[in-house]
Amino acid sequence: MQMKKLSAAAIGAVLAVTGVGAYAHHSFATEFDRNRPIRLEGKVVMFEWVNPHSWIHIDVERNGSTERWRIEGGAPSALLRRGWNRNSLPAGTDIIVDAFQARDGDTRASAAEIRFPNGRELSLGNPTTEAVAAARRRAQN
């Protein structure tokens, strides 16, 4: 009996690489406000490689105090495809993020990419947020 050839790419697309288990994925619109962009500059504290979204924890100096912000990125599989690995964002790295704030007022925001002080950009593999950011840029032009 001839076994069907399994393409590794097809398998990879189906399998979960990390994460606890499946639970309902909320939409961007319910959690974040596309009309409340914010620019955050700070030092990376840690990076969470979790599904459905990764999270960058950064310390930002704002309003006279240090605020701990969590920036939502893409899923680990999306990050891996963009060349990310465990050394991509070490603790202590300075980054600049243009993100959309959470609706509930928490120090939480969703971003499409991050920038480093030397100008280099790194995509976060977050498709819905990328679309929102692109729409915003079109509206401003």
């Binding site: 069907k4 399994l6 606890v20």
Partner: protein, 287 residues
Amino acid sequence: MRALTRLATVATAAVAMATLPAAPALADNHESAEMDRIGDHPDLNGVWQVMNGANWNVEPHSAGPNPLPQGDRILGAIGAIPADLGVVQGGSIPYNEAAQERLEYNRENVITYDPEAACYLPGIPRATYMPHPFQIVQGDGDDILMVYEYASANRVIHMQEVGIPPIDTWMGTSYGEWDGDTLVVTTLAQGPGLVKLPAGEMVEGVTWIDRAGNYITNNATVTERFTLREGGNHIDYHVTIEDPSILTEPYEMDMVLYRHVEDNAQLLEFKCVPFSEHLLYGDLIEE
């Protein structure tokens, strides 16, 4: 007369046909003594399961009550631990001094902090000896897929040179090659990262290798050897665990994987996240 002879011949042939054994049906219903092969290699396709108590404790152990006092009281003998001769060669895992603190912490919190209770992914080698079957999907020259009934855990065994996994993951990253008729799989970078415990606390997780709290870290190299026996219904499964951060020396485990030979052998669904809800989030749920 000739017509009768012809009729007799046809009748005899028909009877002979009717008593012929049915053509070998499913590839996973081996009755022959020969090993099936795919290309140059033994055919490991099928549904497999262990028949031992390794998931309770990989070291030899007597039967005993459920480790939780409330489990003991409510479940009685149904929640009790069966005896097992153990799968660890030499009988005990050679932990070093640095391992003791985490080992004590795990042992004090069996069941409650066990990733299995939270429906977290089991890692390797625990996935092999969970009390659930698993399936090996093997093609000719492709990567090999292993699918586990428990929590739909799965892994791709990349049939290429061992590399550096880009990140730690619950199931690690597996690389495979054939050593004669033995499939050798090297798994690296098993790391749960931050793990949520019951009632909210987040701690740095480690991979538990059984319910007794034995564990490995993300520095571990797990090497598995799958050797199909003549007859094709048993796999000799041998594991070497190297983890210099918590062990004084590597150790080995041996067990047999048994093929499910029933006609309807298949994985069923054990999506256990809803079953762990009360354990993990019971403090948040209004009753």
